[in-house]
């Protein structure tokens, strides 16, 4: 095998579907002064330790990708302010979900074996139904309990979230209902 063949196999060329409307939406999103104000407010508001409520809504909310089934949106709310931390919906035509998290992070995810985490803010999901709780550990040794919610039905995934910013996050541990660590995720 030469380098051309190896490169062709590494990332195969494939037919792509343009999403120019998404480009324009993102361009407008970043430019909006209202969104900037909302971001600042949200960072301040989420600086505490919010308890979450989970409700199901019927009807769309801005922010979810186009592939989301907006007739079945589950959201995580910060109850004191009513602000939305996370929106999740089944992915139309796919086995998976679409999400819109904490201001501007969004995407659609196929069902798989993968557990994923991003930071900041600490946000992630797992398709492993055993996960019942999650903690983040900083390099300073501080353990932080993350908010964990499982959405059943077509979403059928567990999400964990903490909007606070940890510059020196060491790892995140996902545990089952007996407290046993199922997996540790390192940033």
């Amino acid at each position: 095998m030469n380098e051309l063949e190896a490169l062709s196999e590494y990332i195969p060329l494939r037919a792509e579907t343009p999403e120019w409307e998404d480009v324009m939406r993102r361009a407008r999103l970043r430019r909006s002064p209202r969104l900037l104000v909302a971001a600042v407010v949200a960072i301040v508001v989420f600086g505490g330790a919010p308890a979450l409520a989970v409700v199901l809504l019927h009807g769309g909310k801005p922010g979810l990708p186009g592939g989301a089934d907006r007739s079945n949106v589950a959201i995580m709310l910060e109850p004191r302010t009513g602000r939305v931390l996370l929106e999740v919906a089944p992915w139309k035509g796919h086995d998976g979900f679409c999400y819109f998290a904490y201001i501007a992070r969004s995407g659609c995810v196929p069902r798989s074996h993968q557990t994923l985490v991003t930071a900041p803010p600490v946000f992630g999901w797992t398709f492993d139904a055993r996960v019942a709780s999650a903690t983040a550990t900083t390099f300073g040794g501080k353990h932080v309990q993350l908010l964990v919610r499982r959405f059943r039905g077509r979403i059928n995934a567990t999400f964990f979230f903490d909007a606070r910013r940890y510059a020196l996050l060491r790892y995140i541990a996902l545990r089952d209902s007996d407290g046993h660590v199922i997996v540790r995720l390192r940033k």
Binding site: M1, N2, E3, L4, A6, L7, E9, Y10, I11, L13, R14, A15, E16, P18, E19, W20, D22, V23, M24, R26, A27, L29, R30, R31, G107, V109, S112, H113, Q114, T115, L116, V117, T118, G124, T126, F127, D128, I172, I182, V183, R184, L185, R186, K187
Partner: protein, 148 residues
């Protein structure tokens, strides 16, 4: 300018996503980086001074967005054996520097010539030629070693 950006996006989407996926090492992140790069290009289109080509200007934004995405790449853990078709491509990219990798991707996946790569990465065409040759030699030697 907006029409030109959209036309470039639609005409080159496969190459754009291929390069961004290669740089980020993740298909989803690569696709997202392209979307984000074009959103940036739309917002900053008035800063394009026309001293170089629009193509190189856009590629530079795409490469930068992909680098940003790679730095923010999330931790991923497989909780079970991942599905496999029994075949995994052999490409010893670890032997190349990040800069060499970017040049290889732009050259092979986007079919950019030395001048366009130089413009996109803000370096001289001579540097591109020398770096790409070194990268090719490294890859070829490693692949020969694997096959022998």
């Amino acid at each position: 300018m907006l029409d030109e950006l959209e036309a470039f996006y639609r005409a080159n989407l496969a190459e754009l996503r291929r390069v961004a996926t290669a740089i980020t090492g993740d298909r989803e992140l690569g696709c997202d980086a392209v979307q984000e790069a074009f959103a940036r290009a739309v917002r900053k289109r008035r800063s394009f001074r026309g001293t170089g080509t629009l193509e190189a200007w856009v590629w530079r934004i795409v490469v930068n967005a992909a680098r940003d995405a790679r730095r923010r790449r999330p931790a991923v853990a497989d909780l079970a054996d991942p599905p496999t078709n029994g075949h995994s491509p052999v490409i010893p990219l670890d032997l190349l520097t990040e800069r060499q990798q970017e040049m290889v991707f732009l050259h092979y996946y986007a079919d950019l010539d030395y001048a366009a790569i130089a413009e996109a990465l803000a370096i001289s065409p001579g540097t591109v030629g020398a770096t790409l040759n070194a990268a090719r030699r490294t890859l070829r030697a490693a692949l020969e070693e694997v096959s022998s």
